[in-house]
């Protein structure tokens, strides 16, 4: 029973992370691990959520052409959107920058900005039918793409994959976090938008002639 209950002592990787923290370009250990020491994991994670979106597109069936729905006329919903969109945007931007020195960063900001997209979508302002298709695709892939090209650029300069030069690490991490947050927000919004649409089979089934 003791063998099951007992957990190994030793502090894990805390000491290693603390020793290298000054070189990482940020002050918060979790952000340092996430975007510097184990940037490879974070990069792959951006790939995984993009893959999730592609899988949702693949199984979703043929979507009906989206039309502006009627909920946009609701005055209460419009006020909620007008109030919460700037608040969520500002709070997301704050969390993005605060990730340098405290709990925050790309994922938290991305989720809040994704909430803006979902809110607009629920209120009848269909984000993906307003912006052009190519812009949407650019926003979806910009985080993953910038991260990957930065890794190869560093590789070409003789450093290891994702081994930032310590002098520029802070700036690079902030750029990566911003683009990753944009990508995460767009991906989450696109997932919701895709799940929220009716598709052709559903529309056909609702007809009495079928």
């Amino acid at each position: 029973m003791e063998a099951v209950w007992k957990v190994p002592e030793g502090g894990g990787l805390t000491a290693a992370a603390e020793a290298l923290l000054p070189q990482s370009g940020v002050e918060h250990p979790v952000t340092a691990v996430l975007l510097n020491f184990r940037a490879y994991d974070t990069w792959l994670e951006l790939g995984v959520i993009l893959l999730g979106l592609l899988a949702i597109y693949a199984v979703g069936g043929i979507k009906r052409y989206p039309k502006q729905n009627e909920a946009g006329e609701d005055p209460l919903l419009r006020q909620v959107m007008l109030f919460f969109t700037p608040v969520l945007f500002l709070f997301g931007a704050f969390l993005l920058y605060f990730g340098k020195s405290g709990p925050g960063g790309a994922f938290q900001a991305g989720v809040l900005w994704g909430a803006i997209g979902i809110l607009l979508h629920l209120g009848g302002k269909l984000v993906f039918s307003v912006i052009p298709r190519s812009l949407g695709q650019l926003l979806l892939t910009i985080g993953l793409g910038f991260f990957l090209s930065l890794g190869f650029l560093l590789l070409a300069r003789g450093a290891a994959f994702f081994e930032y030069p310590p002098a520029y690490a802070g700036v690079l991490i902030l750029i990566i976090e911003t683009l990753a947050a944009i990508s995460i927000a767009t991906t989450l919004t696109a997932m919701f938008a895709n799940l929220n649409q009716e598709n052709k089979e559903e529309t056909n089934e609702s007809k009495p002639t079928n």
């Binding site: 805390t14 992370a17 603390e18 996430l34 999730g52 899988a55 979703g60 960063g105 089979e201």
Partner: protein, 100 residues
């Protein structure tokens, strides 16, 4: 008993609740919710063990793993919902049934 052990046991309870839900419920949506609860248990276990012998701060590596894991869990839950919805559209089934 130390504080992290309370969180660890809570995570075990959450995991067991979720696993029970996965095996005992029939409806797809209930199974997906149960999987999300299981995932919550796993994340809580990671975070609580990171705290267990904190030096100047808790072990940051499990925290970083958990924060990527949460976003991946959201993405995979959305994919599971898309699958469930597609199955419902094509077959009209909302659960795995053997009696046919």
């Amino acid at each position: 008993m130390e504080i992290y052990q309370i969180y660890s046991m809570t995570s075990a309870v959450l995991f067991v609740i979720g696993m029970g839900g996965v095996f005992m419920s029939k409806h797809f949506i209930k199974k997906i919710i149960a999987t999300i609860i299981m995932g919550g248990g796993v994340f809580l276990a990671f975070v609580s063990f990171a705290q267990r012998d904190a030096l100047s701060f808790a072990d940051p590596v499990p925290h970083a793993l958990v924060i990527t894991g949460i976003v991946v869990a959201v993405a995979s839950a959305a994919f599971a919902l898309a699958l469930a919805r597609r199955i419902f559209q094509l077959t009209g089934e909302e659960s795995f049934t053997n009696d046919k």
